[in-house]
């Protein structure tokens, strides 16, 4: 490994969708702190600018705000090309963007095609667009990393939101197959299944403290993860040379909530 130990992504170029808040913002902060130049792909520039400001305040390598709508193929391609034009390479793509619907309970009896599309157009449509537009650059990198953010909901099948569970589960088939396709190009394809105390999670539990206490008991480590430290730095490890031989896998950063195998 050539990169300094404290900067395992030194000089790498990364694009992260949904990086204007939640876990996506903390992924961007963590990758930047590890030495990466980060393309902060967001629909609303002001959210990306806040992420870039945080990166700068932490002494990170800097972030480039990209207006990207993951449901819009042309927008995705334009964002990737702009990042490449700025830095001359792309080594890492993380598809993190998700629809707000995913955070709310939705009875399956009442789920319809419109609700379905709101989630899967981002999750699955975005995955296709990012993979296709990013592939030439990831291949040229020689150490390409394609990562999708999935969820324990997709593995244990959460009752609260069947659409979210299905769309996240489907990414498992996606990464396992694409890993086999892209392996000869030295591109790894993996997913991360996080359990993190995001702002939204904290706000939810703020209303139901008893539920929070009970939920935390389910974690082997006794708590939800910190998005920046526990999830962000896990993503850094996955994108670094340390885990270059891992592909087609899901990295469960969930404090031992779900015994995946």
């Amino acid at each position: 490994m050539d990169a300094p130990l404290n900067k395992p992504l030194d000089g790498r170029i990364a694009l992260i969708t949904g990086a204007g808040g939640g876990i996506g913002r903390d992924l961007a902060r963590a990758l930047a702190a590890a030495g990466a130049h980060v393309g902060i792909a967001v629909r609303r520039p002001e959210t990306g600018e806040e992420t870039a400001r945080l990166i700068e305040a932490e002494g990170g390598t800097g972030g480039l705000v990209l207006c990207v709508d993951a449901t819009d193929r042309a927008s995705v391609a334009a964002g990737i090309e702009r990042l490449h034009a700025e830095f001359g390479a792309i080594d890492i793509i993380i598809h993190n963007a998700a629809a707000p619907d995913s955070a709310y309970p939705m009875p399956a009896d009442l789920s319809d095609e419109a609700a379905w599309r709101r989630q899967t157009d981002i999750t699955l449509g975005g995955a296709l667009s990012l993979a296709q537009a990013g592939y030439p650059h990831l291949k040229a990198s020689g150490r390409g990393r394609f990562v999708v953010m999935t969820s324990n909901f997709g593995y244990h099948g959460a009752a609260m939101n069947a659409i979210y569970s299905a769309s996240k589960a489907s990414l498992r088939g996606f990464i396992k197959s694409l890993a086999r396709e892209w392996g000869p190009d030295s591109i790894t394809v993996n997913s991360i299944s996080p359990a993190a105390a995001t702002e939204a999670t904290r706000a939810f539990f703020g209303q139901f403290p008893a539920m929070e206490t009970a939920y935390k008991r389910k974690f082997a480590l006794g708590d939800l993860g910190d998005p920046r430290r526990d999830i962000g730095e896990g993503a850094v490890a996955l994108c670094s040379d340390y885990l270059r031989y891992m592909t087609g896998q899901t990295l469960f950063l969930d404090g031992g909530l779900f015994p995946s195998a």
């Binding site: 399956a108 069947a162 489907s170 996606f174 197959s177 086999r180």
Partner: protein, 225 residues
């Protein structure tokens, strides 16, 4: 002693000859099979079709394949519309099928067994869309098993891909991990009788405490955790 094979409804949209072989295999195990036919996949049409065929049956076996899986090809060659039709819509349509079945049952209990290709669990180059669709369907099954568990059991039989899709050869999917020449642990590849027996086991009350589970019928090839 094993319970008698049940009366069941079978819906195999998109499976063609494999659907007929599955129906025959179920019948050969003594099951009363009422094939539900419905070309238009929507909640409303499936509600009507299941209402016509259910009778007193409280077991449903659904093998819903992507209608058009497209030619096996690298992900880079997929166009967005094809991708949506083959990777995304099969998941949505399965939800609509199960909603239609639930509407037809009108609150009565049911044991549902879903069938899909094991390619989603192993991954396969040139089959990203099929693997994506299948794993999404399996995740949907788990979510519904939790949400509708008061009156339904749902389980999944994962079938080796070349059996369920004859256009996919064993050479088109990943070889298992054993060193050396491959010999199936059971000494043979699985057949439709194996699939039917497994589906009926999961469907019946002998498996009354089982829901949201996946049983892989691949002759022990992968032994996935």
């Amino acid at each position: 002693m094993a319970e008698p094979a049940p009366e069941l409804v079978l819906y195999t949209h998109g499976l063609g000859e494999s659907g007929r072989l599955l129906a025959d295999a179920l019948r050969s195990q003594g099951a009363g099979v009422r094939v539900t036919r419905c070309e238009t996949v929507s909640r409303t049409s499936l509600h009507a079709a299941f209402s016509d065929t259910l009778g007193e049956a409280r077991v449903a076996i659904v093998a819903f394949a992507p209608v058009d899986r497209g030619l096996a090809r690298p992900l880079l060659e997929w166009m967005p519309d094809d991708w949506r039709r083959c990777a995304d819509e099969p998941q949505l349509r399965l939800l609509e099928i199960l909603q239609g079945l639930r509407d037809a049952l009108a609150g009565r209990p049911c044991s549902v067994v879903l069938l899909g290709a094991s390619i989603g669990m192993t991954g396969a180059a040139n089959h990203v869309a099929l693997a994506t669709a299948t794993e999404g369907q399996r995740g949907l099954m788990k979510a519904l098993a939790r949400q509708w568990g008061e009156s339904w059991r749902l389980n999944w039989v994962s079938v080796t891909a070349p059996l369920i899709f004859p256009d996919i050869g064993y050479g088109d999917i990943p070889e298992q991990c054993e060193l050396g020449d491959y010999t199936p642990p059971l000494g043979r590849r699985p057949d439709w009788a194996d699939v039917a027996r497994t589906a009926l086991m999961l469907a019946g009350q002998d498996a009354g405490g089982v829901t949201g589970q996946t049983v892989i019928v691949d002759g022990g090839e992968w032994m996935l955790p």
